[in-house]
Symmetry: C2
Subunit: 525 residues, 2 copies
């Protein structure tokens, strides 16, 4: 029964011409869409080898790692006692002191954690994924969409949370029904060609799980999407009971549809990742590579460039004391503009204006530990996100250690805008209590099971004073700000200098472009 | 700034009345919908303690585990040399001999595997999840939906695979546009109340990512869902380039919309699991509990019940030889009807008729190992499923070891119906070669990277001769078949005796109901 490869190729309809198509397809991967060009190659002999890197976040450590690989002598100055910046994980035993001087000590059980900053890595963030691979950071799926998590509004359904699958399936069904009927009744003859009309109706029947009469109704078919009133079983009395769909009116008026597509965005689509064990596994991996280059607890006071190079003055961020001057031929500055604006520097005036006018958005995150994983045990929610109109905005369930015993940590709120300011103004312990009270509206188990909590308000984080940078006029100022001028010795990098603000990918891509510019200057100089 | 709990409750609008709502909500978990009632409790003194269990799949091992816990003396007879049945994983070094006597030796790299049978565990399969928890089986997310995997038809888009996100986003956008415009133009005034019309249009703008004029067009907004032509970057030249949507006509005519909702079904929704390391980790966990009760390599020849008990005759499945008779007061028979129908038994005639008429569906699965994980490295596909109209039906990417080096194993086809018969009739090595050739239409890297493969055709699996049981007339026969008659000593169990056929959950739920019936008989006898 064996056959030759040629026979097989013929049998499956493949011709010589299609082989060319194959080759084209092989190049259709990420190269086409990505702005990451693979591992950076800095070749040629530079004029001036010593580089100061300010900040040991992912931008700074990327710059340090690649510049050393290219033969530069690198020194990194970092304000904190450890590297990572906003790539940060809080675990049991960790302390965190905010700008108001309030210290929180995290009381989580061993192995539990919260990422106050970035918590997700999309599949199309090629640069950070490549560094994870190179540096041996293990990744696991982050569950963004969970059909069994809730959508909740205080004024909808009497305040009772609704399962995502009910709202999403029923909305899709009703929309499909309306459009299928309108098409069948000839209302769309001007919009849809005759050749497409039957296919459109066919597709809507499948998309919306409609009857042959284009109706969205209670049935085993629709229950196979929205879930049954009683699930199918085994042995006796095992036939399932279909569930009753919500009406279009109920769904529209509830406004719970606002969250249906959140997981379909390019930033949240499957497969989206998190590092196993916490986001700072990435910071730790970088730190293993470049930790020997980092001067910790170094608070930069001034950064001055001239024809000969760059002089940076810093002091001990814990004790102050005598300032220290260090010099370099070049400098990569990843200090957030919210901090840089408070320092002495001699950046050109157009850049200085951007530094001074960039606004740092605030956000607040809560890590709440509970005595048991009730969301799994009682409510069959394994990872994913519940959305609510309460000030906490959402609750996210851990995407790891499913069905394990012991305590579990929820992201008990991720707050932006006006609500963030309310929490900013509170003592962390009060903010945590509010988060627990709000969450109780969604999970009745909260009060009884709550164990301990931590609150990070980014406007109160001393080394960044916000979450990410927002430009006064990005269209006007961006190009000049990211461009290292011909006479300059300093290049700027960080998430704020990217079109992926607030994402680690933006920080890394910015750093790679910055060191390419620096190297071009150094080799042409 | 501290406040009392009462103040907080008042502040967040909670009243005494809403506390009652909380309590109701706490009971709104899986108990309501599930047909699994939690860990089984068999109490009372039975009349006759010795039970024969036929088959050491998940149904048989569930029965054995729980009956021993309840004080019964249990013997399990298993045809194979190991337990698990269809809960089965093939790894490097494993041999498998089919009914035609053809032996395949799996050549996968250490750590790589394929699950020929069940491969997924939905979040609402409460019984098997509970056993995983009790028996210490670690679970990880199975990626069902991957926006970056492909949809493919040979006659659509010139045979070029399309990214799921393009088809799904554009279909949703066009559907939303058509319905929003029809609603705005008053075409749906008879169907949608005035109060709902504006909300419907608002919701469609959000759902479909429409402009204020209800148009679905190329833009940064739509690219934020379907993906960019060029992604946003960092540093210079970082502004993204929007991508151009496909037309509704292209999508409808391609029929790629047929697969859009597959991951939205209750059986495939998030969060869906797989055991870490292979599905048979569940079988192994059960076997650790009840392995001492199992007689392996025991091919059952006859199963006869009378007033006093049950006599089962078996022979060595490898060597034949002298048959052995064993007796029990009761018997749980989990042997698939495809096999049971070939044995001597004295089940009542109505049950015998079902045994004889049940059809076992066939399916074929391919495990294909490649020298590198090109789907990740070249195409940014991490887990998930590509659907195709080729005979292989789908390609599924491994939901583990993301971004790891070394070889990787794809599920290179999961075939049903007429196509399965074609593969049934081939030598496994030829079937594997076809799977590689078909897959080459989707992934050009196949021919160069292919390393080794295995093909399991369920109609050729000696101990089941099919994939799962299909009833001639389930509505007519089911209740009587799963019911243990008042004079009977044998009760039947397995996935075929459930409303979750082909799912492990069905097998376990069936077994739990079977042993409950057996115990009721034994304690009332």
């Amino acid at each position: 029964m064996s056959m030759t490869r040629r026979e097989l190729l013929t049998a499956v309809g493949m011709t010589a011409g299609s082989a060319a198509m194959y080759h084209a397809m092989a190049t259709l991967g990420h190269a086409q869409e990505s702005t990451y060009q693979g591992r950076i190659e800095l070749e040629g002999e530079p004029n001036g080898r010593r580089v100061l890197v300010l900040g040991a976040g992912l931008a700074g450590m990327t710059a340090a790692l690649e510049l050393r690989n290219a033969g530069y002598e690198v020194q990194v100055l970092e304000y904190r006692e450890k590297a990572g910046g906003r790539c940060w994980t809080l675990r049991g035993g960790d302390d965190y002191t905010d700008i108001a001087g309030v210290t929180q000590t995290v009381e989580f059980e061993d192995g539990n954690y919260i990422n106050p900053g970035p918590w997700r890595i999309p599949y199309n963030h090629h640069a950070i994924l490549d560094y994870c691979k190179r540096l041996g950071v293990r990744l696991e799926p982050f569950i963004q969409k969970n059909h069994n998590a809730y959508l909740h509004r205080s004024d909808a359904f009497g305040g009772t949370p609704q399962r995502f699958r009910h709202i999403a399936t029923d909305y899709r069904g009703h929309v499909a029904e309306l459009l299928a009927k309108a098409t069948d009744q000839g209302m769309l003859d001007a919009e849809v060609t005759e050749a497409d009309r039957d296919l459109l109706v066919d597709s809507l029947r499948e998309y919306g799980v409609l009857t042959e009469d284009n109706a969205y109704v209670a049935s085993e078919a629709t229950s196979d999407y929205r879930g049954y009133a009683r699930d199918p079983g085994g042995g006796r009395d095992a036939a399932p009971t279909p569930s009753e769909p919500l009406s279009l009116n109920e769904i529209l008026q509830s406004e719970l549809w606002r969250w249906i597509s959140d997981a379909e965005s390019i930033h949240h689509q499957n497969t989206i990742f998190q590092p196993v064990g916490g986001m700072d596994m990435i910071a730790q991996a970088f730190e293993r590579e470049v930790g020997d280059l980092i001067t910790y607890n170094a608070k930069v006071i001034s950064m001055l460039q001239d024809d000969a190079g760059v002089t940076v003055r810093y002091e001990d961020s814990r004790s102050g004391g005598e300032p220290v001057d260090v010099t370099g031929d070049w400098c990569v500055c990843t200090i957030p503009f919210s901090i840089l604006g408070q320092m002495e520097h001699n950046l050109p005036s157009d850049k200085a204006r951007v530094v001074d006018t960039m606004y740092y958005e605030g956000s607040v995150k809560f890590g709440l530990e509970f005595n048991r994983r009730f969301w799994e045990e009682d409510e069959d929610i394994y990872g994913g996100i519940t959305y609510t109109d309460l000030p906490i905005s959402l609750i996210s369930y851990p995407s790891a250690d499913y069905l394990s015993g012991g305590k579990g940590v929820l992201l008990g709120g991720y707050v932006w805008g006006a609500n963030a300011y309310q929490f900013n103004a509170m003592a962390p312990e009060d903010a945590v209590r509010w988060a627990v009270e709000y969450g109780s509206r969604i999970h009745a188990q909260y009060p009884e099971e709550f164990s301990s909590g931590v609150c990070v308000s980014w406007h109160r984080v001393p080394w960044v004073l916000g979450c990410y940078g927002i430009w006064e006029d990005k269209a006007r100022d961006y190009a000049a700000t990211v461009q290292m001028g011909p006479d300059e010795r300093i290049v700027l990098a960080g998430e704020h200098l990217s079109y992926l603000p607030a994402w680690q990918e933006g920080a890394i891509l910015s750093a790679l472009d910055a060191i390419q510019q620096l190297h071009d200057h150094a080799t042409n100089g």
